[in-house]
């Protein structure tokens, strides 16, 4: 291989690509601008909806409220978040109004159960609501929280009246303590976001260059021009591969950089005070950046080889898109399946290419890296990259494929190759 020629061909591919609007948009602008912007929009949208929901008033009717608990009813009435409605309508009519969305919940005081009746003033409650309506479901949660608070205070008063000691009573209290720091919360959020976006960006950023370098050239009629230059075909194929791989890797890394830099801006609406901690902790842990960079590079090399293998058979841009699409979906599928934060990184997952890189990146961000799994994953992925490049090189070494006289796609090429070999044997 003549490295000088490959460099000349590679520079030529990149120069043409950087002047192609679609490639610049999908491989550079999209990773840098659009996805962080979309994320920001999504987070801003979520916080807007949450804000709207918190300002919502819950319309409630209370039936059979005992005078002993009028304090509770009065407290609800005084609460801005509740609109306690006086109504003469019977129970069936109220349930019908909840179903229609004209009322959010019906609260009915009932006599306590047989065991509970021993305590004077004890009571039961039935909340009728409509789970199919968001406002009604939220009202149920609000009512439960208010009731729980009132119940605890009432029981506390009653146990004091009965002479139950404070220390004995304390044994029954449940105290919640969240040990996650703001940095842990950041890592958790990034662990879900970054692997998915990295894989998506690498795949999207490779997509157009792979078609442009093959079918695009044929459609523009520059393929034959390139085939008539003095450079060996292997050099042309190597330069095209480098071009696609560099754009794929750049897409992933640019997205990562943009995401890291805009972290505070994106997460501010939902993280509130936490966002300050995100900024000081730098978002992605520095120790994870190297792992992410290596993972992104391996993903770029693998995805590019795969895409070129399919696209090199296409004669037009449209044909190239349809030939690559199944491989494209196969590549991005792990991004969706592995979003579950509880999914465990096992040795089986470490042996599956692409999936293992997503998990390695996720573990590095969340600070749960297992050296054995990480090394196994990187080894498996490197082997797969070598195999993919070798296979792509074998496909592109075919005279018929390179000059465009091969009919059909990769499967027909393989069928023809193996049929001929069998016939020769």
């Amino acid at each position: 291989m003549d490295l000088r020629q490959i460099w000349t061909l590679f520079r030529h591919e990149v120069r043409c690509a950087l002047r192609e609007r679609n490639i610049v948009i999908y491989s550079i602008v999209l990773p840098v601008v659009l996805y962080p912007a979309l994320l920001w929009a999504a987070f801003a949208g979520i916080s807007f909806v949450q804000g709207q929901s918190s300002r919502m008033t819950s319309r409630v009717v209370i039936l059979d409220s005992p005078t002993a608990h009028s304090v509770f009813v009065d407290s609800l009435d005084a609460n801005d978040r509740f609109d306690v409605i006086e109504s003469d309508v019977d129970r069936a009519g109220l349930i019908s109004r909840i179903a229609q969305g004209n009322l959010d919940a019906l609260l009915e005081f009932t006599p306590p159960s047989e065991g509970g009746a021993a305590l004077d003033g004890n009571f039961g409650l039935v909340i009728s609501f409509n789970e199919a309506r968001d406002r009604s479901a939220s009202t149920r949660s609000r009512l439960e929280a208010e009731i729980e608070e009132y119940r605890l205070a009432w029981v506390d008063r009653e146990r004091q009246a009965l002479g139950v000691d404070d220390t004995v009573w304390a044994d029954f209290l449940i105290t919640r303590e969240n040990i996650a720091s703001s940095e842990d919360m950041t890592r958790f959020l990034l662990g879900v976001l970054v692997p998915m976006l990295t894989l998506l960006m690498v795949t999207i950023a490779s997509f157009y260059p792979a078609i442009d370098a093959t079918a695009g050239e044929r459609e523009r009629s520059t393929w034959e021009t390139l085939m008539s230059v003095a450079s060996p075909r292997a050099n042309v194929a190597a330069a095209k591969y480098l071009y696609v791989a560099v754009f794929g890797m750049a897409g992933g890394l640019l997205n990562l950089a943009a995401l890291t830099l805009s972290l505070q801006w994106i997460l501010a609406p939902v993280a509130g005070e936490e966002s300050r901690a995100l900024a000081t902790s730098g978002g992605i842990p520095p120790s994870a950046l190297v792992v992410i960079a290596v993972g992104t590079a391996l993903l770029g090399l693998f995805v590019s080889a795969g895409m070129l293998m399919f696209a090199v058979f296409a004669k037009t841009f449209k044909e190239g898109q349809s030939m690559i699409m199944p491989f494209y979906f196969l590549m991005i599928m792990p991004a969706f399946f592995l979003q579950d934060p509880d999914i465990e990184f096992t040795m089986q997952l470490a042996l599956i290419p692409v999936v293992n890189m997503v998990m390695v990146i996720k573990a590095a961000i969340m600070g749960t890296s297992d050296p054995l799994l990480a090394v196994t994953s990187l080894g498996v992925m490197s082997l797969c990259v070598a195999l993919a490049i070798g296979f792509a090189q074998w496909v592109m070494s075919s005279e018929e494929v390179m000059v465009g006289s091969q009919e059909g796609g990769l499967s027909k090429f393989l069928k023809t190759r193996f049929t001929n070999r069998k016939a020769q044997a």
């Binding site: 020629q5 000349t8 523009r220 034959e224 021009t225 008539s228």
Partner: protein, 263 residues
């Protein structure tokens, strides 16, 4: 003293078609082309001209026979063959997003033109083909006449001794076609060995030193225009072509000629 720069020996190309089976697109073709000579390859559409030239340019591999370009065998030394020739056809387009200057620089460099003299060569070509006014505009913005100049300059960027022009005037208007023929004639005067394929009789008459008549993949005759006239007793090339096509024994010869070969 002219040297033989292109030589074929029973050059053959067989395609396999699902519907038609074995198709002999080029059948035992023997031609030569010397330095300072334009050899016209004259034939109807589908006669095998483009396939022959693509084999010479190593864009297609021969299935039989052999060919040599500037002493290099097309199968064994494909890179050297491509370094020794410039290939121009209606289907070899330019890169639209780069400028003529970048185009020439790229093709000279990738075809192994010495780096030390590269810029000098690029400037020479820009000057020679009159591209000063648009050498730094993107190719996509140029008129078809300007693009044609860039295409020819691209073909000769690495100063190859052999040039192949495959139906170069097929998509050009009359004025551009005349200009192109003038350029090709000047390149012959520079000592280039040129193979020029066409189905336009007048073009072959005006430009070519010798004419090879190709029909159904076979060369029926190769001679100077005067030699062909003497051999057939016909004055006009169209009549000469019909004479050979009919004598080749193919039933559809006259039909094809009247449909395709009227220049």
């Amino acid at each position: 003293m002219p040297e033989v720069r292109v030589r074929t020996e029973d050059l053959t190309k067989v395609f396999y078609d699902d519907g038609r089976g074995e198709v002999r697109a080029v059948d035992s073709v023997n031609i030569t082309c010397e330095s300072g000579e334009i050899l016209g390859l004259l034939g109807a559409n589908g006669a095998g001209k483009t396939t022959t030239l693509r084999m010479l340019a190593t864009v297609l591999a021969p299935t039989g026979g052999n060919a040599w370009v500037h002493g290099h065998e097309v199968r064994e030394a494909a890179e050297q063959v491509r370094a020794s020739l410039g290939f121009y056809s209606a289907s070899t387009a330019l890169y639209p997003k780069i400028t003529p200057r970048e185009t020439l620089r790229f093709f000279a460099r990738v075809n192994n033109y010495p780096k030390a003299r590269l810029e000098q060569r690029v400037e020479y070509l820009i000057d020679r083909f009159g591209m000063e006014s648009f050498s730094d505009s993107r190719v996509e913005k140029l008129s078809s006449g300007m693009k044609q100049k860039v295409s020819i300059a691209r073909t000769v960027a690495h100063d190859p001794p052999v040039l192949i022009f495959d139906e170069p005037t097929v998509a050009l208007d009359v004025l551009n076609a005349i200009e192109l023929r003038d350029i090709i004639a000047k390149l012959r005067d520079d000592g280039k060995a040129i193979i020029f394929s066409t189905h336009i009789m007048s073009e072959a008459e005006q430009l070519c030193d010798r004419i090879a008549i190709i029909h159904h993949g076979r060369i029926l005759a190769t001679d100077t225009l005067d030699g062909l006239r003497q051999s057939t007793g016909h004055h006009y090339l169209e009549d000469i072509f019909v004479h050979y096509a009919n004598s080749s024994g193919s039933d559809d010869a006259i039909g094809m000629v009247s449909d395709e070969v009227v220049g």
